[in-house]
Structures are given as structure tokens and as C-alpha cells.
Amino acid sequence: MTRLIRAEFAKLRSTRLIYGMAAGMAAFALLTVFAGIAYAGREGNPALAADSLPMLVAAPVTLLSGAALLLGILGMTGEFRHQTVTQSFLVTPDRGRVVAAKLVAYPLAGIALAVTILAFTAAVATGWLAAEGITPSLLDARIGRVLLGAVLAAGLCGLVGVGVGALVRNQVAALVGVLVWVVLVEGLLVSLLNAPGLGKWLPSAAAAALTNPGGAGLSRLAGTLLLGGYALALALVGTRLVVRRDIT
């Protein structure tokens, strides 16, 4: 099992995808820091202060969960798209283990990406604040909570991504499907079923509760359990299908 996980990391390291995503995320993080500082003290936003750092660091977190989801989907469906799955299953005919290795590797990769980008964001924001004459504290408990939420969200979204990929197999269908689900289906379900209370129990709301808990939504723990449940269900059904379907 260890060698299969190592093989997954070797796959990730040997294409440009992960580096491209990291570069894109870093650019986005720069943009959020810039925007956060530019709009501070304007349009009702609080002015920059020593405790502005958590706000600035938290900005790219949601997109980072999306990146982890994307990574998981691309990692699983890429095997089918490029037909490398044939080789993977020739080497490891016990297909469940191949999917299991991805279920371990991609959440970890998503977390690594999130932590790296958050560290980068914190460094840039600290530097920027310092240039503005503000010395923020890195030992703010809120930063810890941002990091915890980001790690949980990236990990679970990566898991969901691999599960969706195993279920759908077709890369384009999986990407479009997830986008349509998040943008359209969840909202439609709530309004069609006329059940406003349903909303917070759906996957993207559960993911949101990880990074931004409380309010009308779920607590962080409930969100973790719920999204974990969705991820597990997707992974189980997806794995079962991958194990049973013919590879042609």
C-alpha cells in the first residue's frame, strides 16, 4: 500500500499540474492580500490594524478547497482520460488498492497545497502590513482556526474529488457535473423542495462550515462529519464501480 501511495505522489510530481495550480493559487493569494489591504478602511471595512492578519490569510481558503477538489477529480479521471489506468491495473490488479492509494494521496496533496499557499499568503500579508507600519501577531488564535479549517476543507474536498472521479470517470463530465452541482443543483433542490432548512446539509454548505462555521450553518465539527460522510459514500460507490467495470 505504501508503494502505491508513493507511486501516486510520483505521478503528481512528474507532471506540471500541481506546480501550475500552486502558481495560480499563489497569484490569487497575492490578489486577495492586495484587495484586502486596498479596501481596508473603505466601504465599511475595518481599517488595517495589528489583528488584520487573520482576515487576509483567510481570503484564499475557499478557493484552496476548490483546488483540492479539482486536484482529486483530475487525479482520478486523468487515469481514464490518458488511459494510464490500464497500466495501473496491470501492475495492481486489486483495483481497490489503487483507488485507496489515491484517496490517501490526493487529500494529502490538497492539504500540502493549502498549507503552502497559506504560509505564502501570511508571509506576503505580514510584509505588506509591515510596510504600512503595522506589526501583526502570528500567534493569533484565529490564524490557527483559519489553518485548521483550511486543512480540513482541503483534505475532505480532495477526498470528494477522488470519489467523484471514480464515480464519473469522464474528466469533462466530472468537472462540469461538480460545477453544476455547486452553482445550480443545491440551490434548486432547496427552492424546489421548499425546504430552506435543507441547504446547510448539502455538501458545499458542509464544506463552507469548515472554513466559516456557525451562523445559520453547521458547526465545524458537524461540517467535518457531514462532508466526511459524503466523501466516504462517494469513495465507496466510486471504488466499487471502478473495481467492477471493464477497462477497455
Partner: protein, 347 residues
């Protein structure tokens, strides 16, 4: 598995194992082919069965209404190079994918060393496969592709460089596969198959997309691997591609076995054709039939007798006082035999 056979010392017999009643061996209704198989199916003893590396029994795959593979049975003996032949769509790829555990059979079994592929302990060390529609990530270099596979298979990653050298891709090791020609991809596929230094190689149309020089190279490689005592099952839809390399052929059409024979027996068929031009073609045909010589009319005044000699046909004609305008031994090429066998089965 490690037994080495000297070059040319590979068993020339066909591995007809005892067939189960549920999965009778199918042969086409061509007398001469039956002759070939009959002469081979004699004392199929226990030793021969112990030699079988690949055993396919009653293998069947149904896709909806389409029977892609229909009760196919054959064996591949240790140390032999077997050509797995049939027209496009005959079921070759489906059969090989079932053998490799990628496609689940509707019925029947496919075993390697007595075990289904999925039951092999270290498949990459045991069996190397090159399949069509088995791809590479276009953004990954050849070397990294091999290192990924080696890592998953638990093989030392230094093997990647060794097999790259073996297939002549060392120069291209660090290039992304996306820029590779079809021939280079085939070489990389072979390199991947060789990673675990397997004793059994299963190759699906490895010559596809290769230029003449590539085909020549492939022949040399296959011969080299066979000379090391490895067992090779290589599919093709062009007999000529493999004719110089294989010891035996398994021919299928429409998912069914047409024949399994040694290449020598198949080649023999090509030399045994006698073409006769005579105004009394029908009479001669029945006279020949009485002597056990099969002949097919070809046009109004010609007969093509198979599995016989000009001497035999001449004797029969002379004895009955039949006038012959022309008699000659024909060397129909191997491809004609192949075409004849596969189209008759498909009809």
C-alpha cells in the same frame, strides 16, 4: 518458469490440452485444417499440460447482443512464441484484456500459470503486457512514466533506465511523451512491459504504427526475448507481420477459434495447392474426391486441389484419360491461407 530453451529448440508441438466437453475446440470446416489439428491432437499428455503457461478455456464475452468472444479455448506453451491472429474486430483485444484481468469474462476462464491474472502475486514480475489503448500521460517524461510504474510494482527505479536502453529510447528519456511518435510510444510500451523482467509477454498489435524499420526492430526484439526462453503471445491482424517470428499461430474470427497450429503446418498448406486447367473439371473433381483429394472449382475449366501434389493429380487424370491443358503447383502465400481461414469462419 526459468527454464531456458536453446534457440531453435523450442517445442514444435502444439499444446492441445485435453478439452472439456463444455468447451470443445472449434475448428473450421476445412478438411486440411482438420488434418493439421488432428495430427497435433494425438497424445496430449499430462506433461504437455504442465508446460502450458497460458490456458484459455471456454472464454466468452458478450456485450449486449454482440458475442465478442465465443467459447474460445487455446493454450500457449512455455517458451513458445504464438501469433494470435484474426481480422479487426475478431475479438483479439477483448480476449487479451480478459486474460489480463481488465475485462470480466461472461463465461469461461483465462489463466496464466494456472492462476487468473488477478490472482498473481507480483504480476509485473511475471507478465509484461503491451495493450492498445493503454496510454501515457502526455506531460510526463518517458523516464518518469517508467519510474512511476516501477514504484507501483515495487521494482527498483533504476530499471527504468535499463529498459529505456533496451528499447533504444535513452536519448528521449527526459522528453515528454506527448511529443513522441507512434513508434516511440510502442517502444515505450514495450519498455514498460519489460520493467519486471517477466517470463511471459502479451503484446496486442505491437507493430501497429511502426515503420518498416520499426517492424524489423520489433521482430529482432521478439526473437531475442524468445531465445531467452520467454513465452510470447503476440496479436496481429496481419499474418506477415509475425510470420517470421512465431512458432505457432492461433487464428480467430468472429470471436471463435478457427485453428491453432504450428506455423510450419500453416506454411505447408500454402505449398500444397495444385491448379489444373481441363475441359472436364467436374469429372476430375469427383475422381479426385474418390481418391480423398479435395478440389474446388475456380472458373469454368479450372480446379484448385489442396493438400496434394502435381504427381497425384496427374496420375488420377491420366488413369481416367482426362485431358489436362495445364497443371502446376501453386504457392499461395500465407496471407491467402489466413484470409481463407478467417473469412470462411466468419461467413
Amino acid at each position: 518458469m526459468a527454464a531456458r530453451c536453446p534457440p531453435g529448440g523450442r517445442p514444435a508441438t502444439v499444446g492441445w490440452g485435453p478439452t472439456t466437453p463444455a468447451a470443445p475446440l472449434r475448428t473450421v470446416e476445412v478438411p486440411s485444417v482438420l488434418d493439421v489439428t488432428a495430427s497435433m491432437s494425438g497424445p496430449a499428455g499430462a506433461e504437455e499440460e504442465a508446460m502450458a503457461v497460458i490456458t484459455i478455456e471456454g472464454l466468452t464475452k458478450r456485450y449486449g447482443d454482440v458475442l465478442a468472444v465465443d467459447r474460445l479455448s487455446f493454450q500457449v506453451d512455455q517458451g513458445t512464441v504464438v501469433g494470435f491472429l484474426g481480422p479487426n474486430g475478431a475479438g483479439k483485444t477483448t480476449t487479451l484484456r480478459m486474460l489480463l484481468g481488465l475485462v470480466t469474462p461472461t463465461a469461461g476462464t483465462a489463466r496464466i500459470d494456472g492462476r487468473p491474472y488477478r490472482g498473481l502475486d507480483a504480476p509485473a514480475r511475471h507478465v509484461g503486457a503491451v495493450l492498445e489503448a493503454s496510454g501515457f500521460h502526455p506531460g510526463r517524461s518517458a523516464r518518469n512514466h517508467l519510474r512511476v510504474v516501477a514504484t507501483a510494482a515495487g521494482l527498483p527505479t533504476v530499471r527504468a533506465d535499463e529498459v529505456l536502453a533496451q528499447v533504444g529510447l535513452t536519448e528521449a528519456a527526459h522528453r515528454r511523451v506527448g511529443g513522441f511518435s507512434l513508434g516511440m510510444r510502442q517502444r515505450l510500451g514495450l519498455a514498460t512491459a519489460l520493467l519486471g523482467d517477466p517470463q511471459v509477454l502479451i503484446l496486442d498489435e505491437p507493430a501497429n504504427g511502426l515503420d518498416p524499420e520499426g517492424v524489423h526492430w520489433l521482430r529482432g526484439l521478439l526473437r531475442h526475448l524468445a531465445d531467452q526462453g520467454r513465452t510470447v503471445l503476440v496479436s496481429s491482424h496481419v499474418l506477415a507481420e509475425v510470420a517470421q517470428t512465431v512458432d505457432q499461430v492461433v487464428i480467430i474470427a468472429s470471436g471463435r477459434l478457427v485453428t491453432q497450429s504450428t506455423l510450419a503446418a500453416l506454411t505447408a498448406r500454402t505449398d500444397q495447392q495444385v491448379r489444373v486447367r481441363t475441359p472436364q473439371a467436374e469429372t476430375l473433381q469427383s475422381l479426385l474426391a474418390a481418391q480423398g483429394i479435395h478440389a474446388d472449382p475456380d472458373g469454368a475449366d479450372q480446379l484448385v486441389a489442396t493438400s496434394t501434389t502435381t504427381e497425384a493429380v496427374g496420375q488420377v487424370a491420366a488413369a481416367a484419360g482426362i485431358v489436362l491443358y495445364e497443371i502446376r503447383a501453386e504457392r499461395s502465400n500465407l496471407e491467402d491461407v489466413f484470409l481463407q481461414l478467417t473469412t470462411q469462419q466468419g461467413a
